[in-house]
């Protein structure tokens, strides 16, 4: 498949493994084993069984009639919000925890931004009886209190990242530094970012989303392929999963929606593809928001899951080759879209997901157009923000 990385983890010019020598044995161990493990019958059996009975997959593909009516197209929602723990993140953590166990690891570390990946990691660690440490930016700990409480209840240790800007990128730095000092730990990365083989491994584990979309859409419409798939992108794991099995079906339009924050040119944005340049972050060469001397710039978005200064190398490649179309939505547009979905369909989406919904009014839709929006997570964790803006 032409969108898989090469042996050094490159998608075109993006990817690779820019890591300190101290991490080489860890990354190498994973690189040498992940495909073998994922493709093994034993893994597939257990992964699929857990996804079905524990996560609740397949997640429904729901025809959103009132939303469709409003926009004059046929819009389906891939309901990742109905997964156990409330988002697509658990697809990846279930897979990686099985890989970690196969590699004989007993201590799990993870980074988290909004806390969804932290919760999904703490959940699978509880399930497997493994020790769990989650690094989370001090600022994110404040703005995502419910998820911090969930992680703690699940038995995870939550370590505040107090360096740099105290958000997701710093939590990732701290997780990597901890890993350097504790090479026996397993680093369970939550998105399609980081050094090879993480971007590919996480993509493969999230690919279940588009695998299901194909047969589900066929059941609904008789055709596997929609005209358009829309997903939000921070690091890009839900988009990678929603796009994966359609990457080679060039007639399917893929739309990645980034967070524009207060506006792409406002100086307070996380629209990496629009504002970034080629660089290296967390071991991967990708598109990165940085200043003229290569210092990494802190992005901004109302959504803690989208304010990552880079984007996974697969997405950088899809952007560069124009296989995917990159759009963006501001904080305000996302909030409006969240309210709209709630009132039209009775579904409260995560703030991240709301960005994907927010591009509908900006698109030139045709009446016979079939669209799948990846509804990556539910909005319970964002209620405080929603309530605040409801009052305004």
């Amino acid at each position: 498949m032409k969108f898989n990385p090469d042996k050094n983890g490159y998608y075109g010019q993006f990817g690779g493994s820019f890591i300190p020598e101290l991490l080489y044995p860890n990354a190498k161990e994973l690189e040498d084993n992940y495909i073998r493990i994922i493709e093994s019958e034993a893994f597939q059996k257990e992964y699929k069984a857990l996804l079905k009975d524990y996560v609740g997959r397949p997640s429904p593909l729901y025809l959103a009639k009132r939303l469709s009516e409003k926009y004059g197209a046929t819009i389906y929602l891939k309901r990742e919000d109905l997964n156990h723990t409330g988002a697509h993140k658990v697809n990846n953590t279930i897979g990686q925890i099985l890989i970690a166990r196969e590699l004989g690891k007993t201590q799990i570390i993870a980074e988290t931004g909004a806390g969804q990946h932290g919760v999904a990691t703490a959940t699978v660690c509880a399930l497997m009886g493994l020790e769990c440490t989650v690094f989370m930016g001090e600022k994110d700990i404040e703005r995502q209190a419910p998820n911090v409480a969930r992680m703690k209840m699940l038995g995870a240790k939550v370590v505040p990242a107090t360096s740099g800007s105290k958000t997701l990128k710093d939590a990732t730095n701290e997780a990597i530094r901890y890993w350097i000092q504790n090479p026996e730990a397993y680093y369970l990365i939550g998105s399609v970012v980081g050094m090879h083989p993480y971007p590919d491994m996480v993509t493969r584990l999230q690919a279940i989303i588009s695998e299901e979309m194909k047969w589900q859409l066929k059941e609904h419409t008789g055709k596997e392929n929609p005209d358009t798939i829309i997903a939000c992108v921070g690091g890009g794991s839900n988009a990678a999963g929603a796009f994966y099995h359609y990457l080679e079906d060039e007639e399917v339009e893929l739309i990645a929606v980034e967070a524009a924050g207060l506006g792409v040119d406002s100086g307070e944005s996380a629209a990496t593809s629009q504002l970034g340049e080629v660089g290296v972050i967390h071991g991967s060469k990708t598109i990165l928001m940085q200043d003229e001397y290569g210092q990494i710039v802190e992005p901004y978005s109302i959504s803690a899951g989208l304010d990552y200064p880079g984007v996974g190398p697969l997405h950088a490649h899809l952007f560069e080759t124009k296989r995917a179309r990159f759009m963006n939505a501001t904080d305000k547009e996302a909030l409006t879209a969240a309210y709209e979905l709630t009132r039209l369909e009775g579904i409260i989406p995560a703030l991240e997901t709301a960005h994907a919904l927010a591009v509908l009014p900006k698109m030139d839709l045709k009446s016979d157009q079939t669209i799948i929006i990846n509804l990556s997570g539910r909005g319970d964790k964002d209620l405080a923000t929603f309530i605040k803006h409801l009052e305004e």
Binding site: G16, F18, E21, S163, N173, I180, N182, G279, V280, Q290
Partner: protein, 261 residues
């Protein structure tokens, strides 16, 4: 052994003396933007064998809290690659202590790989350390680039680096291998454990062609002396930065004496 090639500045040091070499690391722009010249002069006058100039970076993955802090302060002070290159070019004529640059790969990519190398050469520097540049990326791309400018890349080895890989690194090395003393980020403290001694002995017994300079966790006379039993010298970074923070440039002489006495 290097054949038919001019020796780089660090190799020339080794030719004069290859025992108990002391290298000091500092972050350019810390504690003050214009401290670079004074720090290099003081270190040179106090007999430091070579100096590592750290290019402050926003996201220094391999560094502990002390160097992270010094980097943040330096960046806040307005340090950037153009400023540091100008400073180093100015002191080039007077300075006789070889300098090694240490920075992260993203700084090089963003500055422009050729532009970066040109500036390095213009500063009279021929040796660089990039902790997040792995061997495979070096071989696939940077080796050719650096060769073009006569720049030597220093590789790191760690307690986890396999023998095969160390042999390969040794064959790619002109000068010294940076031997990371333990599985840690910079500044991780303390004494040298028996486990570390086993690792030092294992590497020493490999009889590599490269010199070995030991760093990470070397902080005082005791750890420096111990490291020098196994390597050709050692690098001190975080401990020096702490001293700079506390005693300023005036304290450099007594800091160096406390290490080598």
């Amino acid at each position: 052994m290097i054949k038919n090639k001019t020796m780089n500045s660090i190799q020339q040091i080794f030719q004069k003396n290859d025992k108990n070499l002391l290298s000091i690391f500092f972050t350019a722009g810390f504690p003050k933007l214009d401290a670079t010249k004074e720090i290099i002069e003081e270190l040179g006058e106090n007999g430091v064998d070579f100096i590592e100039v750290g290019l402050p970076y926003s996201d220094p993955l391999a560094d502990g809290p002390t160097i992270q802090h010094s980097s943040s302060v330096a960046l806040r002070n307005g340090m950037n690659l153009d400023v540091v290159f100008n400073q180093l070019q100015e002191i080039k004529k007077k300075n006789t202590t070889p300098l090694v640059l240490m920075g992260y790969v993203n700084q090089i990519i963003k500055y422009g790989e050729d532009a970066f190398c040109e500036k390095v050469v213009a500063c009279g520097i021929d040796t660089i350390i990039i902790p997040d540049l792995p061997m495979v990326e070096y071989e696939n791309h940077y080796q050719t680039l650096f060769k073009k400018y006569g720049i030597t890349n220093v590789f790191l080895i760690t307690p986890q680096t396999s023998e095969d890989r160390i042999r390969k690194i040794d064959s790619l090395t002109e000068g010294f291998i940076y031997m990371v003393a333990s599985s840690s980020i910079t500044g991780a403290k303390g004494e040298i454990s028996t486990q570390q001694i086993d690792y030092f002995e294992r590497i020493k017994a490999m009889n590599l062609q490269s010199k070995l300079i030991i760093g990470f966790g070397i902080s005082d006379n005791e750890t420096f002396t111990k490291a020098c039993e196994y390597g050709n010298g050692a690098i001190i970074g975080s401990a020096f930065i702490k001293s700079l923070d506390k005693n300023g440039v005036e304290g450099i002489g007594s800091f160096v004496k406390s290490i080598v006495s």
